[in-house]
Each structure stands twice: as C-alpha cells, then as structure tokens.
C-alpha cells in the first residue's frame, strides 16, 4: 500500500499548480450568485478552458485533457488550494456531462461539451418541482409529443444558477400512463431564453438569487435535445444523481482547502489554549484528510463512489462543510455575524448542503437500505 504519485501524476500536479499560480485572480471574484459575479465567473471559465483546465477528466476532443480519476483529484486539490474561484459551470460539468458521456449521442457531445467547457453555455439543473422535492419521481411537468420533438410545460423550481444561466436540463413526464412514477419520464435540455420559458429568480437566505423558478408553457425541444430514450429518463438521470452526490460535486480538494483555511484562521485568530475550538478545528482537519484519502482509495479502486456509496460521501462532505464554516464563524467572534466575506458566504452556501442533491435524510435511507440491507421503510 502506498500514497505515491507516478512521475506523470507529479508532472500533472506541477503543471496545474504552475498554471494556477499564474492565472488565479489575486482578488476574489464577486459572488457568483450575483449578475456581475456570474459574468466574472463565466469569464474565468473561459480562461480555465483556454488553459485546458476546465474539464480535465473529459476526453481531449471535447475540451478536456483525458485525466485519470487520480489526476482529477490532484487537480481539485491544486485548484482549491490556490484559492481559485468556485465553478459556475459545476452543474453542467459534473451533472449533465457525465450523462451525456454515457447516454448522449456523438452529435450531442460534440455540440454541447466544448461550449460547456468554455463557459459559453452555462447550465442550470431543473429537477425539482413545487410538489416533487425529495420525492422526485412524483414530478408532473409534462413533455407532450409534437412534430420533431416535444413541448414542455409545467413548473420547475430550486433550479440552481438558473437566474443567470443559458440552458437547463431536467426530467419531464412524457408517458403519463406508466405503471410506476419512475417510468415514462424523458430527459430533455432547453434554452432558458426560449419562447414559453419564464425565469423567476429566487433569493437564497442572504437574498442572492442562487436559484430560480422556471415556468414552462409549451417550450419546444427538438429530438436532438433529448438524452437517451424518451420515457426512460429516470434511468438515464440516475447516473447523474450518483455523480452529483459523490465525490465530484464537492471534491476532497475543495473540502481540504476549506479545512486548511480554517486551521490557518485558528492559528492566527484563536487562543491556542482554547481546547474546545481546537478540537473542532482538529476534527475538521481530520475529516478533510479522511475524505482526501477516501478519494484516493476510490480512485485506486477505479471508481468514484457511485450509486449507494455516493450517499455516504454526500452526507460526509455536506456535514463537514457545515462544521468547517460554523467553526470559522465562531472563531471570528463578533465579526462572524457580518454577511460579507468568504466565511459567511461559504456558511450560507454550506447550510444548503444537507438539502440539495437529495436531502441527507434520503441519503441515510439509501445507505441503510442499499448498503446495510435494512428493510425498506414506507418511503417510496
């Protein structure tokens, strides 16, 4: 057993570090949940893409650099350690792209992925509906067959990034007579400025429009913008869901950087004899280290925790992220109440972690039923 990187991996790390040192903006960008910040982050995606670092794990033909899982983990470590901006293209790169790579057509991949990598097209997810949150399979938005495509109608909500994004992807009920709620759904992509789309931005706790409600009224989607087989959208989407919850959405590198910043803050701002704070900081460092090593083990096993195992990861990183930020606010004392700054911004962001991508309650049900083999309860 070892933790050694190959010369190639070391070179990859050195390249990433050098490029980031040259290109990461010295001042933090404006919050990406604002119009101006969104534009700044989009421009940063362009810069990343020009350097070839926007989607390192994709094949080169789509704008990636064919990095291995381990290299991707290394990149994420370097990226967040360098204090680089959060990724406005995250939803596309980590949720939509894996689905396209697995289920999309060659035409779709060639058309969609390079524009996603460059930030030219920023994607929003459109899963939830007012009556379908945790119980996603109960969604009602409809896709009605029309010539050469589908007409989408209904309401989607909690659509992250949709206030300023270009396009969205989601599931729609196309075959309403299906025997089970998970059947008869179609996975479709659509522009947010299309005819029939109304975008109502929604402010998160601090008022920043981090998501939006989407009203769809006969929005035309050509067949070319359906992923996988119509009516089998749930199966198509599940690979995306596993990817969302697993390591990719919040990488070990991202959490390690957060815990590292916390430890640095503790060293400079805290009373070193305050063991209560010390214990919380140490736990954050330990858990971030655990997550990093867990990622290596997954990469060595040739898989990034998918399926039910992704649920373990989701609960772990979302609780760790919140603990890191709660500890930081406590460390900051009276300044911890102020709204502006990376820590409070990250705190508000982290508060949503146990909710999105499937609530942690749902994840624990999945862990208990699928990994531990406990009998299914009433859910579902």
């Amino acid at each position: 057993m070892d933790l050694d990187f190959t010369p190639q991996e070391q070179a990859f790390r050195a390249d990433a570090r050098a490029w980031l040192a040259d290109h990461v903006p010295c001042r933090p960008l404006t919050s990406l949940e604002t119009r101006q910040g969104f534009a700044e982050h989009r421009a940063w995606e362009r810069t990343l893409c020009d350097g070839g670092w926007s989607a390192v794990s994709w094949p080169r033909e789509y704008g990636g650099r064919g990095a291995s899982l381990l290299e991707w983990l290394v990149f994420e470590e370097e990226y967040y350690a360098a204090g680089a901006p959060f990724r406005v293209s995250q939803n596309g790169i980590h949720l939509l792209a894996p689905t396209l790579l697995e289920h999309g057509t060659e035409e779709q991949r060639a058309r969609i992925l390079p524009a996603m990598a460059s930030g030219e097209t920023v994607w929003a997810q459109a899963w939830s509906e007012p009556e379908a949150g945790s119980d996603l399979a109960s969604l009602r938005s409809a896709a009605v067959r029309t010539e050469g495509g589908w007409l989408l109608s209904g309401v989607k909500t909690w659509s992250s990034r949709a206030a300023f994004a270009d396009r969205a992807f989601g599931l729609f009920r196309s075959h309403p007579g299906a025997a089970r709620p998970h059947q008869g759904l179609t996975y479709a992509m659509f522009p947010l400025d299309a005819d029939g789309v109304t975008v109502r931005p929604i402010g998160r706790l601090d008022g920043k429009p981090a998501f939006a409600e989407l009203f769809l009224d006969g929005v035309f989607v050509p067949d070319a913008d359906v992923i996988g087989e119509p009516g089998r959208g749930w199966q198509t989407a599940m690979s995306t869901a596993g990817s969302e919850r697993g390591l990719t959405l919040r990488s070990p590198g991202r959490l390690a950087a957060a815990a590292g910043r916390l430890a640095a803050l503790w060293r400079t701002a805290a009373d070193p004899d305050d063991t209560a704070l010390r214990d919380r900081v140490a736990d954050a460092v330990i858990r971030a280290r655990a997550y990093r090593l867990y990622g290596y083990a997954q990469a060595c096993a040739g898989r990034l925790a998918a399926g039910a195992e992704a649920s373990l990861t989701k609960v772990f990183w979302s609780e760790l992220d919140l603990a890191v930020h709660e500890t930081a606010l406590d460390l900051l004392g009276p300044d911890g109440e102020l709204a502006e700054g990376a820590w409070p911004d990250g705190y508000v962001f982290a508060l949503a972690g146990p909710i999105y991508a499937g609530t942690n309650e749902i994840q624990r049900d999945i862990i208990a039923e699928r990994l531990l083999g406990l009998p299914k309860g009433r859910r579902g």
Binding site: I202, L205, F211, D330, E337, A339, I355, R364
Partner: protein, 331 residues
C-alpha cells in the same frame, strides 16, 4: 413559590403576540432590512406604548421599575415575531443609564426611551465592537476604555454592514461626547450586560418557538411520497429534540429573571445559563427548520428566513456560548 407567569404576565404576552400578528410584522422586518425604518419605527412606538421599555426604567424616570419577569415575557414575543431594531440594546442602555439616576443623564434619556421617542443602540467591550442598527438609532452609546470606565455618546458611526440576519445591521461607532466616567460606569455596564444577555435569551427562546411552530405546521401539510413529511420518524425525532431544547431553556430564563429581580449575586451566572440554553435551542430549531423545509426554507422570500438568520445572530450576541459556559462555572 410561584414559579410560573401569573395571569397578568401571561395576558401581557398574549396581547403583545396579538399586536404583532395584526401589524404585518414580516413586512416591517423586510423594510427594516432594506434600511427603510418607517414601518419598524411604527412597531417600535407600539412596543413602547405597551410599556415594554419602561420595564427596564425606574419609576422616577417614567418606567415601571425594573421588572425582568415581564421584560422576559415581552422579549419572548419580540423574538416570536422577529421584531426588528435595537430592542435589546435600548433595554440595556436604559439599565445602564438608570444606574446614574440622580445625575442629569438618566433624566434626559430615560423618559424618552420609555415613550419610544429614543431608540438607543449600545456598544460595550463585552458585546463586541459593533452597535446594532446604528443608522436607525437616535442615540448610540459606547462604553470603552481600559478598564471600561468611559461612557460616550457616539458622534457618528462607520457605515452599517449587513449581517447574517438581514434585519440586523451592524456599525462600528466612533467615540463622541463623554457622558460619564469612572468605576460607576463599569459597574453599570456589567449590570447592563446581564440585562442585555437576558433579553437576548428571551428573544432567542421566542425565535425558537416560532421556528418550531412554523416547521411543525409545514411538516403536517407538506406531502412527499404520498404522506405528510411529519409522519417520517427522522422528522419527528428532530422536532421532538427541538421541543425538548426549548422547554428546558424556559425555566432557566425564568430563573434568570427571578435572580435579576432579586439582584442576586449569582444573577450573572443564571443569565449566562439561560443565554446559552436558549440560544443553542433556538439555533438547533433553525437548523431543523431549514432541514425539514428543504429548499423553500432556504429562500429569502419565505418568511421562515426572518427567524433562521436571527437564531444564528443571537447565539453570538451579548455573550458567546463559550463565554456563557465559563460564567456558569466561575461564578
């Protein structure tokens, strides 16, 4: 022993509850968060009219004498309705100034605090460098120096900064006119700090109760997987824990009120115990409320957000949990 609110005290709380419910308080809070103080100021006048500020003012200056039990009852309701403004700070300022009764200061300020004409903010070393809602306040008092013997009327303040509770805006005051100095200021400030912590604890309890109420209501009617989410055991148990936290914070609050009323030497420790219990219970209520509501609870437009941010802010205001715990053991 009569360790329960009496009928009059209960009625006082119920009347405040009704008053806030009828006043469209959430709109006033949202306006306040935008820096529009008109509706909040109207609410303030009604709070004053109900006699709330007078509960921290001696009778000689237009108040009802210091009545912490009644003040606690009032602040639970202020928290329950997320009322905006430097309510705690005005009370603490009144207690501080009341300790100078006899000299001109108390006479100049206290009657106008009672009537709601003067909304005061206050910064003291034990509460951190910021004055709450300094832009809205008519007077910002500052206790400073080392030892903290000087009482200033702030000349002006740095620009207000937004906080994690949008209805709480913080500003660093600059010293201005020296109103008083000496150990008497320090002693009065210590007493005022206890009252500030006590009122904050009461407010936090009210915040927690409101969060629990709303979340239970939501869990009863919100359906997922074909059943109300309140029928899921994970939801039930979290809400049960919230209730336990709040129910056992309440007697500590009452105990602190009795200790303050009796000017008991252990009042500081009793207040600290109530503060940490009420604030931790309210913060747990906020985290649970958010989790049970899911995304809708995470939105600014849904009224729940008015309480969620406040629970976090009150936890640190006028004594962090760590400071309170230290006080409990070192009394």
């Amino acid at each position: 022993m009569r360790f329960l609110p009496d009928a009059e005290q209960t009625a006082f709380g119920r009347n405040l509850d009704r008053m806030f419910a009828a006043a469209d308080t959430p709109s006033a809070v949202r306006a306040w968060a935008r820096g529009e103080h008109g509706p909040g100021r109207e609410l303030w006048a009604r709070v004053a009219g109900a006699g709330v500020f007078g509960l921290a003012v001696p009778e000689a200056h237009g108040g009802s004498g210091l009545l912490p039990v009644e003040l606690g009852v009032a602040f639970v309701e202020l928290g329950r309705h997320a009322a905006p403004g430097p309510l705690v700070e005005t009370v603490a300022a009144a207690v501080l100034l009341g300790r100078f009764a006899g000299d001109g200061l108390a006479g100049a300020w206290l009657p106008r605090i009672c009537t709601g004409q003067v909304m005061a903010s206050l910064a003291m070393p034990c509460g951190g460098p910021y004055a709450l809602d300094a832009d809205a306040a008519d007077a910002v008092l500052v206790v400073s120096g080392d030892p903290a013997d000087d009482l200033h009327l702030a000349r002006d303040c740095d620009p207000v900064q937004a906080s994690l509770d949008p209805a709480r805006r913080l500003a660093r005051p600059r010293d201005g006119e020296l109103l008083a100095t000496g150990p008497g200021v320090r002693e009065a400030a210590c007493c005022a700090a206890d009252w500030a912590a006590f009122a904050t604890a009461a407010q936090a309890l009210g915040v927690g109760l409101a969060l629990l109420d709303r979340t239970v209501g939501y869990a009863r009617q919100r359906t997922q997987f074909g059943v109300p989410i309140g029928s899921f055991q994970a939801v039930k148990h979290r809400l049960a824990d919230v209730l336990i936290g709040l129910e056992f914070a309440r007697p500590l609050l009452h105990g602190a009120a009795v200790a303050l009323a009796g000017r008991a030497p252990e009042a500081s420790a009793e207040v600290a115990a109530a503060k940490v219990a009420a604030c931790e219970a309210a913060y747990a209520a906020a985290r649970t409320a958010l989790q049970v509501h899911g995304a809708v609870g995470y939105t600014a437009e849904y009224d729940l957000s008015l309480w969620i941010g406040k629970a976090r802010a009150l936890r640190g205001a006028w004594g962090t949990p760590a400071e309170c715990r230290a006080k409990v053991l070192h009394k």
